[in-house]
Amino acid sequence: MTASTGRSYRRPIALFWWLSRRSYLLFVLRELSAVFVAWFVVYLLLLVNAIGDGAPSYARFVDWSGSSWVLVLNLIALAFVLLHVVTWFGLAPRAMVVRLRGHRIPPPQIVAAHYLAWLLLSAIVAWVVLR
């Protein structure tokens, strides 16, 4: 069953192989969302630092965060983070099997539970920040 009769041919792989298929490209974009998650942590720590340093420092931070490049960066980051949310929650029921009283919970319900938790936590965060 081996290729003993001659040379076998191996197809070369392009450096940017993920450009060749939509699904591969979407995969790479999904993975790149992590870069924007990391950016968010940097941004969050800058915010924490500014609040810790007092009111004038916080005011400077808000001014800086309103500059167009930071706004654009954050909008792009939000888009990627939302891609992360949709793909993460969408794939969750395939990675986890949840049983309740011996019965397997159907995948759509697991996805729904994730979105419900997401909405609830978002509402709590918004309430704590804005109240």
């Binding site: 001659g6 191996r10 298929r21 995969f27 990675a95 099997v97």
Partner: protein, 247 residues
């Protein structure tokens, strides 16, 4: 509807070609003809030198996997009319060495498959007189999906990780390991853990998910791998916390 369609078939003759070349053939476009029927027509009527693998023609033997218009498919279950007016590009499965024309070398998969022990492992075999190992329908349902695998290797062809890292054990082998791990009659999970949890096993997978999209039998190897990651990671934490309870 036109009564003919063009098949652009990848030819690779190792004695003359250094890389595959495309060759076009006109085949009849009939309503119930699959790509495989078109290839058989070429072989019988137009060019007897064309080489390809096939056997059952009904989607169960898993030997006629090919790349049709860039997608890994079973050529017996992919119909020409869906590609009309054509042309239809037929290439060998990607990610495998090509031996000739549409025939690939499957040795790598054949070598990997037994390493995950895809059979029922028992600590102690009970004698035949004691009867069968019984199983409830619920226990069957746990692994049934994974038992549908026909070893056609479309999942390997769709997997970019396998393309980049040929050492990766790959979707079908891991899904088959899970098929036995999840079987209530099986006791081999601990033996499989070592191979599955090696760097060439589940950890190389980045959940691209294309293996599951390509599977013609509705198996979800990508899901099986992620589920197994959770199992293996939980096992590792348990071993760290309670090293002495390790088998």
């Amino acid at each position: 509807m036109a009564d003919e369609i063009t098949l652009e078939v990848a030819r690779y003759r190792p004695e003359v070609d250094s890389s595959p070349v495309m060759q076009s053939y006109q085949v009849p476009l009939r309503e119930h003809w699959a790509v495989l029927d078109g290839l058989t027509y070429i072989k019988d009527q137009l060019d007897g030198t064309l080489s390809f693998r096939w056997s059952c023609r009904m989607g169960i033997c898993g030997s006629c996997g090919m790349t049709v218009n860039g997608e890994p498919v079973l050529s017996c279950a992919t119909f020409l009319t869906d590609y009309a007016p054509g042309p239809v590009r037929v290439e060998p499965l990607h990610n495998f060495p090509v031996i000739r024309d549409l025939v690939i070398d499957i040795e790598d998969f054949m070598a990997k498959l037994p390493t995950v022990k895809p059979w029922i492992v028992r600590d102690v075999q009970s004698p035949v007189e004691q009867g069968e190992y019984l199983q409830t329908p619920e226990e069957l349902e746990e692994y049934q999906q994974y038992s549908m695998c026909i070893n056609c290797m479309l999942c390997y062809s769709a997997c970019p990780v396998y393309a980049l890292e040929p050492e990766f054990i790959g979707p079908a082998a891991i899904a088959l390991a899970q098929r036995y791990n999840l079987d209530s009659r099986d006791e081999g999970a601990a033996e499989r853990l070592e191979v599955l949890s090696s760097p060439e096993g589940i950890w190389a997978c980045t959940f691209v998910g294309e293996c599951s999209a390509a599977c013609p039998k509705g198996v979800d190897p990508a899901g099986a791998i992620q589920r197994y990651k959770l199992t293996a990671a939980t096992q590792t934490v348990k071993n760290l916390l309670m090293p002495r309870s390790k088998r």
